[in-house]
């Protein structure tokens, strides 16, 4: 069987990625660990002194934390959506990106909810959510949805890893410590790549791929409802859930493109991640930027045109105090990607990645503008309040925890890449096997 040889070849090809920790990589991990340590220190301070050391106050009760929460959960949801859809395609090019998407999905659903925990005043009472649950509360829905999503994504990621674990287990020549070999053996759960096993795994994976799409949509919709079910002007909008769904996809595709660029460059995977991937990803990003722009425009346009009392105050602050942020989030963050991605000449790998960076940064800022200015403009005008309670400015505690969250995401990503090849070997094998079968059919 030449497929077994092919497996060996692939392992050999990817072995440098798995075996060696280059000095640059060690430095990178070191930097991430430092950032995370600073974040942990900030967290200790927050637990010790309370939320008083954050910028959150009685009017803006949620700040950077909830913005990061929406942002990360959005990326995860989008990853689940895309990897679920990719599963239906039977093209060779998908193998180069599926694993990146799946890892992003799982990691962001791990990092995201940590931010909502930082928002909670009494972490020591977190278990009250389970001993005194109230199913009427959207927060309870959110907890159920996110835990389900997290478990679902984990199972899905693991399922797609099993054949690769098996391949790695069957290659004892890898220069890796013994515990890793044992771990591969354990994680491969005796998968021998027989026909029956393959069929069964394929069946489970395809069921899961459909389920995680549904779970992700539910989770993100419920998250949007945390805002839109309140009476606050600016939040109480029927467009919020669909807008969050589109916005999540938009940022998710952006993050995937950025990850592809960095991985391609660092691991020299030009053979696997080709321009076509960027062009296709760019096309998806273009469609999403148009959709997202349309949703955002409809929302703000309706508010502006009907000028209800509460909305007027909100728009006024968006066009004065938050003018540049508003322009960046809702004009530059949408129009620049549209321009770059719709002109064929501009569709180079670098420019597409640039468009993705703009899209992701713009979207983060868009989430900021959804949360903070709205809370600064409630129904009853903010009066008779300590002046320092009126506006929100994030403190270094919140920023360092934000960066620690991003660093955790990157660190876990780096470690997973060192543990399992970023290009799905089993995907390549499956593809080649099918080509072989097709050839056999033709010759018969």
């Amino acid at each position: 069987m030449d497929l077994n040889n092919r497996k060996k070849e692939l392992v050999k090809e990817f072995s440098p990625m798995l075996e060696k920790f280059s000095p640059a990589l060690k430095l990178w991990i070191g930097v991430l660990v430092v950032v995370i340590t600073i974040g942990l220190y900030a967290f200790v301070l927050q637990v010790k002194h309370g939320h008083i050391i954050t910028g959150m106050r009685d009017n803006v009760v949620w700040g950077l934390y909830i913005i990061n929460f929406i942002f990360f959960v959005g990326i995860s949801y989008s990853g689940a959506f895309i990897s679920g859809i990719l599963h239906f395609f039977k093209t060779p090019w998908k193998n180069s990106v599926t694993r990146i998407v799946e890892i992003i999905t799982v990691l962001s659903i791990i990092v995201g909810p940590v931010f909502i925990l930082l928002c909670i005043g009494r972490l020591d009472r977190l278990y009250y959510l389970f001993i005194y649950p109230r199913i009427q509360s959207p927060i309870t829905w959110d907890i159920i949805a996110i835990i389900t999503d997290l478990i679902g994504c984990f199972i899905y990621l693991y399922l797609t890893f099993i054949p690769d674990f098996a391949i790695l287990r069957d290659n004892p020549d890898l220069k890796i410590p013994n515990w890793r070999k044992k771990l591969y053996r354990f994680l491969a759960i005796n998968y021998k790549d027989t026909k029956a096993q393959r069929a069964r795994l394929h069946k489970i994976t395809s069921i899961m791929s459909k389920m995680i799409i549904a779970m992700a949509i539910v989770a993100y919709t419920v998250l949007a409802w945390i805002f839109s079910l309140t009476l606050q002007p600016g939040w109480n909008s029927t467009i919020f859930a669909p807008d969050f769904i589109v916005a999540g996809l938009y940022s998710g595709v952006g993050v995937i493109l950025i990850a592809m660029f960095i991985i391609r460059k660092y691991f020299k995977l030009e053979k696997y991640i080709i321009k076509l991937h960027f062009v296709l990803g760019g096309a998806v990003l273009l469609v999403l930027s148009l959709l997202f722009g349309y949703f955002t425009f409809s929302d703000y346009f309706a508010k502006w045109f009907s000028h209800k009392m509460g909305d007027v105050g909100l728009l006024q602050s968006l066009f004065t105090k938050y003018f540049w942020q508003f322009i960046f989030a809702n004009y530059i963050g949408i129009l620049i990607p549209i321009i770059i991605l719709s002109i064929k000449k501009l569709r180079t790998i670098k420019l597409i990645t640039f468009a993705a960076i703009i899209a992701v940064a713009g979207l983060w800022l868009n989430r900021y503008l959804i949360v903070v200015p709205t809370l600064e403009n409630p129904y009853v005008p903010i009066q008779d309040t300590r002046p320092e309670y009126i506006h929100y400015t994030a403190t270094w505690i919140e920023w360092s925890l934000t960066f620690a969250g991003i660093a955790t995401f990157l660190l876990l990503f780096t470690l997973i890449i060192k543990f399992v090849p970023i290009i799905s070997m089993s995907g390549i094998i499956d593809n080649e096997r099918e080509l072989q079968n097709d050839k056999l059919k033709l010759t018969n």
């Binding site: 009472r125 005194y132 109230r134 509360s137 809370l375 009853v380």
Partner: protein, 327 residues
């Protein structure tokens, strides 16, 4: 989950409280009777003795002394505080024509709830209906809505609506997610952001009815002072207002009082054009306002405060104009 430990004594006490409230609202003598009895109840716990009491409608009743507990000092536990005072439906009416931002209600409330000078359950807004009308002072407590959005969204049931209409917070149950704060359209809720020394004051056992002692990382708000209501007293804000702006009472009895005059609630609302703030939101508040017509004080009178208080109005659009007018 209901408090099974104090169930027996609780129901008896409640019966008694009902008597106490009735008597104290109508007969002043009632309150002195209660305070005398509370000391008797202390040392005769299981004696089986009975005591004769006069009810408001002139009947004599016999009550077992062990059923008369240390009221009014009696602690209403978090579980008991969920039930509310029987047969009551509390309501507040604020007469905007009489308010001159004297801030006595704010101060009284702060004192009663052990709040710092810059923390407040009651805020005095400076509102303006249309640009042609003069602004007016608008005391804003918690509205204790009949459709409270804060209660709906609470994930642990830490905030709850009682039978007597009061919305309370149990800060021993609160996890500090702040969702109630974002869902309250009236911004009535406050958060304990940091830790203060008096949070650790264990001399007084915690009760959601007093909200003392407070706890770090939990939500608090105006509570209509149920501990005072049980004693037949008015809430701190209504007690301390020198102008009699704040009427408080019972919708079931159709009576509200500001301490000086006692009036029919329905009549007051109908005759004076009473309304509820942001009625269209559908939260059905239990705080009514009487419009600021025939005002008794010039508006600028409300600005006779030190700099620190004026700072609290810095972002009000017409404040500079008013300050100029005053000087």
């Amino acid at each position: 989950m209901e408090n099974y430990k104090s169930k027996k004594s609780g129901t008896d006490r409640r019966k008694f409280l009902k008597l106490g409230l009735m008597s104290s609202v109508t007969i002043v003598a009632g309150s002195s009777l209660i305070s005398n009895l509370s000391t008797i109840g202390d040392d005769t716990k299981t004696s089986g003795e009975k005591v004769r009491l006069l009810t408001p409608d002139g009947k004599m009743v016999e009550v077992a002394t062990e059923n008369i507990n240390k009221y009014p000092e009696a602690l209403i536990t978090p579980a008991e505080s969920r039930k509310g005072i029987p047969d009551r439906k509390f309501v507040m009416v604020i007469d905007l024509a009489k308010c001159k931002n004297a801030r006595k209600c704010v101060e009284g409330c702060q004192k009663g709830h052990n709040l710092e000078y810059h923390e407040e359950f009651m805020k005095i807004q400076l509102l303006q209906n249309t640009e042609n009308e003069e602004p007016y002072w608008f005391p804003k407590p918690c509205f204790h809505c009949d459709e409270p959005p804060c209660v709906t969204v609470c994930p642990t049931g830490a905030t709850f609506k009682r039978d007597d209409g009061i919305v309370l917070i149990d800060n021993e149950r609160c996890i500090g997610c702040k969702f109630c704060m974002t869902s309250c359209p009236y911004s009535a809720r406050e958060f304990n952001w940091g830790s203060e020394p008096e949070f650790n004051d264990k001399t007084q056992p915690y009760s959601p009815e007093t909200q003392v002692p407070r706890a770090e990382g939990t939500v608090m708000k105006c509570d209509f002072c149920p501990d005072l209501l049980r004693q037949g007293k008015l809430p701190y804000c209504a007690q301390s207002c020198p102008m009699g702006v704040i009427y408080f009472g019972d919708k079931n009895e159709d009576i509200v009082t500001n301490g000086d005059e006692t009036v029919r609630f329905s009549q007051l609302i109908n005759d004076r054009g009473g309304y509820r703030y942001l009625e269209y939101l559908g939260t059905k508040p239990n705080v009514y306002y009487l419009p600021p017509v025939n005002r008794q004080f010039p508006l600028e009178r409300g600005l006779n405060h030190d700099k620190e208080i004026l700072e609290r109005y810095r972002n009000v659009p017409y404040i500079d104009e008013l300050l100029n007018k005053k000087n």
